[in-house]
């Protein structure tokens, strides 16, 4: 379902998009080196709250999951687990090139190269770690797309769920780990 064609959107979703486009809560899960860019985006110089965005403690309350930089296999298991705990509609923004093609860690046995195989990404931000201006611009862009109902990452995840699961199993082997540290 390419983003282009406009399907008949129910009034409820249209109203929801109006609100979801103006108030997004970010999940407080710093997965990589880009997380250090978030404090300046939130505090007085750039003030993310102007866009109606703010950090929230748990995946149940959050709408947006930020993958900030390289993603090791072990963190990917936790990210998948948290992503599935988030409530629909949910979005993922991926920072930097490590999530696109592995970046400088392309040849590491521990980090994944193509995040798009495992999770539906709604927006990439270029930059080996994008500065707050780039992040603010991306969030603004994302909010416009949400208002026009063009963001459907979570729908794609639900639609071809088993395809995503197959990819995940190939890379991660088993999301839920059973060993002496997780009984």
């Amino acid at each position: 379902m390419a983003i282009g064609d406009k399907v008949e959107i129910k009034a409820w979703e249209k109203l929801g998009d109006f609100f979801r486009g103006r108030s997004i809560w970010m999940m407080w899960y710093c997965t990589g080196c880009g997380a250090i860019e978030m404090p300046p985006t939130m505090t007085s110089r750039f003030d993310m709250e102007r866009l109606g965005m703010g950090p929230m403690a748990t995946p149940r309350q959050a709408d947006i999951l930020l993958i900030t930089g390289y993603l090791s296999v072990k963190t990917l298991r936790r990210v998948i687990y948290s992503y599935e705990q988030m409530q629909d509609p949910k979005y993922i923004v991926a920072f930097g090139s490590c999530t696109i093609n592995g970046g400088i860690y392309f040849d590491s046995y521990a980090t994944i190269n193509k995040l798009d195989d495992y999770l539906p990404i709604d927006m990439y931000i270029a930059g080996c770690m994008p500065r707050p201006e780039a992040i603010m611009n991306a969030f603004n862009e994302l909010q416009v797309k949400i208002r026009n109902n063009e963001v459907d990452g979570w729908k794609r995840y639900k639609k071809n769920y088993d395809q995503y699961k197959a990819n995940q199993m190939k890379a991660v082997g088993e999301v839920f780990v059973h060993d002496e540290f997780h009984e």
Partner: protein
């Protein structure tokens, strides 16, 4: 159909119960149910014969409003708890003595409330003390039965002494007549009042004498602790009523020293009540065993009842009596739910249970309504009584007592919530997976009691009318009602309106909830664990040390039990010393006594 027939049924039923249970345990249990239920219905039968007196051998009885009210509360708790005997009977060592003692203790308390003269009063009082003292060791520990009996007998001996003293002074044994003839100086009046109310303090479990309550209730058999804390604690309230209302306490101490407009001895007892509220609340918050927790909450609520009755005015007195009723029902229901859980899981320790709501939803709802009433939250009966007590205290300006009352009511949110969250909610341990709901004859009394709590909470008129008659009989201006509202000079509470508005608010919230898309059902273990994988529910259930930060504040608290044991050790030392002096065979001590004798004789000669 009169008072004597009720007492006859109970006493004969008790003795017959001993032999019936020998034949078949279940029949014995059903006997306890039937006798207590008939006593309850016959009590309603004789509602119109108030004022008549009866004579039997040398016992005389008088049907009074206050006696009827207390008997009604007792019979209700007995009848409801009796249903549980059906399931717990085969768990006791001596089931036949249990049935006999169970029914006889009800007979004792009913007879006690209607006693006209002191002798009947004291005989039935001792009957209750003895029967309950023998039932408690049927549970876990014997030691708690000893402590219970010792503290109760101290109280009854003090009251016996006061009775005999009053008899010597007035020559009459009839309670009301003796007290009206009594005109003594303030100090002797204080002394008689103190001795008389002593039994009440020990029975309610007020501060210095509260040590037996958690031990006895905690270890009593599961079906008897609801009666202990719901019913038998109220006997103390009756003695408090006698020693404050019948014994003309307020005018006897009229020229005594006044604090805050209340005579000093009564104010001292109210301070004791306040201390027992604070101690009961603080100790209940840190208990690990659900039954001990509820026992300490009875100590706290006993403080409320004592404060209410001691005030003997229009509002607080009515509040105290209504709280007596509300606490009896709520505490008995809470104990019954814990008994139902103990029947199913075998333990009452909070940290070993969890997630009971998934297997026993009815027991959960019953417990929820019971603790809402115990915590004094509308729309339950507990709220109306606490409202009356707080209004009365506010109108009199008793700040210290008001501080204790608020501390007790806010603290009760904490300790009633601990079993709710740790036993009923949270994760269900796999070992309780195939747990079934409480059996039918346990659910019936629980549902009836919950219905009563809710009904009286919304329409307090039905119990308040009884209390108004009691106030008129005691010569106090009765609390004024208009329609379903309580309208006193500094406050207005229409419980029915509050309930309707609460229902209206609930309706709006429900509509808002149903408007939104339906929520997806998710398993309890699929919860936020900061992205770590946890698979054992016991690890994810927060029950042990529920209020750890608060409990740390008073970790090494001084305990009255250790105070008493220190005193008893001191006594033993003195005893040993005297024994050494008098009984030892060594010549030195005999020599000592000879010298002492000669000294006194010669000294005596010089002095005279």
């Amino acid at each position: 159909m009169n008072l004597l027939s009720i007492l006859a049924i109970l006493i004969i039923g008790g003795i017959a119960g001993y032999f019936i249970t020998k034949l078949n345990k279940l029949a014995g249990a059903w006997l306890t149910v039937l006798t207590s239920l008939t006593a309850l219905f016959m009590l309603f039968g004789i509602k119109d014969q108030i004022g008549s007196t009866y004579e039997f051998l040398y016992f005389t009885f008088e049907l009074t409003q206050i006696g009827w009210y207390f008997a009604f509360v007792l019979c209700l708790t007995y009848a409801m708890s009796a249903f549980y005997n059906i399931y717990f009977m085969d768990k006791y060592l001596y089931p036949n003595t249990y049935t006999m003692l169970y029914i006889l203790s009800l007979a004792g308390s009913v007879g006690l409330f209607f006693a006209k003269d002191f002798i009947t009063f004291f005989v039935f009082w001792e009957l209750v003390v003895w029967t309950s003292a023998f039932i408690i060791p049927l549970g876990k520990s014997r030691k708690s039965a000893y402590i219970y009996y010792v503290v109760s007998s101290i109280g009854s001996m003090a009251t016996l002494f006061a009775i005999l003293w009053v008899y010597k002074l007035t020559g009459s044994l009839v309670i009301r007549e003796a007290f009206s003839l009594l005109d003594v100086s303030t100090w002797t009046a204080i002394f008689i009042f103190g001795l008389f109310i002593f039994a009440g303090l020990t029975k309610i479990g007020i501060y210095p004498f509260h040590i037996w309550l958690p031990l006895a209730h905690g270890s009593a058999p599961h079906t008897f602790s609801p009666i202990l804390s719901g019913g038998l604690v109220k006997l103390g309230a009756y003695v408090a009523y006698i020693s404050v209302v019948l014994f003309p306490a307020y005018d006897a101490f009229s020229e005594a020293w006044m604090i805050f407009g209340v005579p000093a001895p009564i104010y001292f007892l109210m301070i004791l009540g306040a201390i027992s509220i604070i101690i009961g609340t603080l100790m209940a918050i840190r208990q690990e065993d659900a039954k001990k927790l509820l026992a300490y909450s009875s100590v706290a609520n006993g403080g409320y009842i004592l404060i209410g009755i001691l005030m003997v005015d229009q509002v607080t007195f009515a509040g105290g009596l209504l709280h007596l009723f509300a606490h009896a029902i709520a505490s008995a229901t809470a104990f019954l739910t814990i008994a139902a859980i103990a029947y199913r899981t075998g333990t009452t320790k909070i940290s070993e249970l969890g997630g009971m709501i998934h297997r026993m939803p009815i027991t959960y709802t019953v417990y929820l309504i019971a603790i809402i009433s115990m915590a004094g939250i509308p729309p339950m009966a507990g709220f109306v009584s606490k409202w009356l007590i707080l209004q009365g205290l506010a109108s009199k300006g008793l700040l210290i007592i008001a501080f204790a009352a608020f501390f007790g009511s806010i603290g009760s949110f904490m300790y009633v919530f601990r079993p709710l969250a740790a036993v009923f909610l949270g994760q269900l341990a796999p070992k309780y997976d195939n747990l079934k709901e409480a059996p039918i004859f346990m659910v019936i009394p629980m549902v009836i009691m919950t219905g009563i709590t809710l009904f009286i909470g919304v329409f307090p008129k039905f119990v308040l009318e009884m209390i108004m008659k009691v106030q008129v009989e005691a010569g106090i201006t009765a609390v004024t009602m208009n329609g379903t509202a309580i309208d006193i000079f500094n406050g207005y509470l229409d419980a029915y309106h509050v309930f309707v508005i609460f229902g209206f608010g609930f309706f709006i919230a429900l509509v808002l909830f149903l408007l939104m898309p339906k929520a997806r059902k998710v398993d309890l273990m699929d919860t936020y664990t900061s992205a770590e994988f946890i698979y054992t529910p016991e690890l994810l259930h927060y029950a042990h040390d529920f209020y750890a930060p608060f409990e740390r504040l008073y970790e090494n608290h001084p305990s009255t039990l250790s105070l008493y044991s220190k005193l008893s050790l001191k006594l033993k030392e003195i005893g040993l010393f005297v024994d050494y002096l008098m009984m030892s065979v060594k010549p030195a001590t005999t020599l000592l006594w000879i010298i002492l004798f000669i000294a006194t004789v010669s000294l005596g000669g010089v002095l005279s």
